[in-house]
């Protein structure tokens, strides 16, 4: 079982349970082949859905409370949304460790189009192993960053359906369809 440390240890603003969060993070990590300790910082004051990687080694993640929330039941924990959030972050870590992303900009340097393209590739892979999906939501985000065109939709399909692209390939597909 992957060791997961969640901060804070209890919540005042939302009805989250540290043990449940830890189980979901560990489950996602194991499905992705991550077997090292993970630290997860949660800002429970924020209902927004931001997330970022604080540290690649050891793995340190940070999320808004809203990134783990059930949108149907505000202030309650949402397993599907959490799998999506944690899964995207862990896949980004695995990608950067693979050697295929050595030429990728740092997270702070990625623009919205690059983030959207990488996320499509990540969520497509997550869906294929049974961890989330929301394909149409990702398509809408991708179109907002790349244009509402057939060219952009074809690029989306390539990113979504590919197994292990390199950063150069993601960037080529993303740049090639922007309007």
């Amino acid at each position: 079982m992957v060791q997961v440390s969640v901060k804070p240890e209890s919540f005042e603003m939302v009805f989250y349970d540290v043990a449940v969060i830890g189980e979901v993070v560990a489950e996602v990590a194991e499905r992705l082949g991550v077997d090292e300790a993970i630290t997860l910082d949660i800002d429970e004051n924020s209902p927004l859905g931001r997330s970022k990687i604080l540290s690649y080694d050891p793995i340190g993640l940070w999320v808004d409370g809203g990134a783990l929330e059930n949108t149907q039941r505000p202030r309650n924990f949402g397993q599907a949304r959490s799998r999506d959030t944690i899964g995207r972050l862990l896949l980004r870590i695995l990608d950067r460790r693979s050697g295929r992303f050595d030429d990728a900009p740092t997270d702070d340097e990625l623009d919205l189009s690059q983030f959207a393209a990488w996320d499509v590739h990540n969520v497509g892979r997550l869906e294929r192993i049974g961890l989330g999906g929301q394909r149409k939501r990702r398509l809408y985000q991708f179109r907002n960053r790349h244009g509402f065109t057939d060219l952009a939709d074809a690029a989306f399909e390539e990113l979504w359906g590919s197994s292990e692209l390199s950063w150069a390939e993601i960037e080529r597909i993303s740049v090639g369809c922007r309007t």
């Binding site: 209902p47 039941r73 505000p74 809408y140 179109r143 907002n144």
Partner: protein
Amino acid sequence: MRKIFPAEELARDSRFIRQTNEQRMGDPRGARIAGGNTSGNLAKLTPDLPNGPDRARALMHGIFVGEIQALEGAGRTCWDFELGDEVPLALKLDMARQCWDEARHCEISVSLAEHMGTELGEYAENALLYEAACNPDPVLRLTGVNRALEGLAIDVFNTMKEFGNMAGDPVLEFCEDWMLADEVTHVKMGSDWLRRLTENDKDRLDKALEFQKVVDRLFSFNGFRGEDDDSPIQLTRRFRELAGFSDEEIDEIADMSRDARFEATA
């Protein structure tokens, strides 16, 4: 069939989860409204925001459930009041026409949800719009719903139309534009019936306008809807003028929003 149908008993299938006003206003992180949150830094809803597309999805879902409730409310107004004694036939005919518009808006909203990748029921539903449509006085009901809430709809639809335009999304832009045209008509109906039904009743007119302010205030916390550049939902003067609002009334809504913002940041 009973009159004044309670909001708690509105028919919804298992996809829809209701969030009460107490739950929404009692969220210590700030009430969620129009695809955003009232506690954090405000920002106009545009595609350039990192969470812009997701906020637009949430707002569109709020519009969708609002359309369902507007249909239910206008339908109730056709039924709840006696012809002649309480309302004229022409008012019921206007409400029947509004039902047709709202039903079409529901269909458009479902299609837009599909277009934007949103599941029906993906977000919690709040029934404030329908609750305003339960007022036992038809004048107060039309003022609260058609002037305050449909007035808000004008601002929301215009904001979404601009979002679609900026994103290069013609589907969203044109759908919002078509619905916006209907909303202006609905608000105009409210303005016209308010004037006609209170022509010789100053006390009733005052009560109706006060009820409208109460409803408007509920949607003005933290300056969420206003005229400042960073107001997430922009107050739309031109369309409100077309819908029968005076300059003084629009100024008052703008002031209400500024006051709410000042209170929130004080």
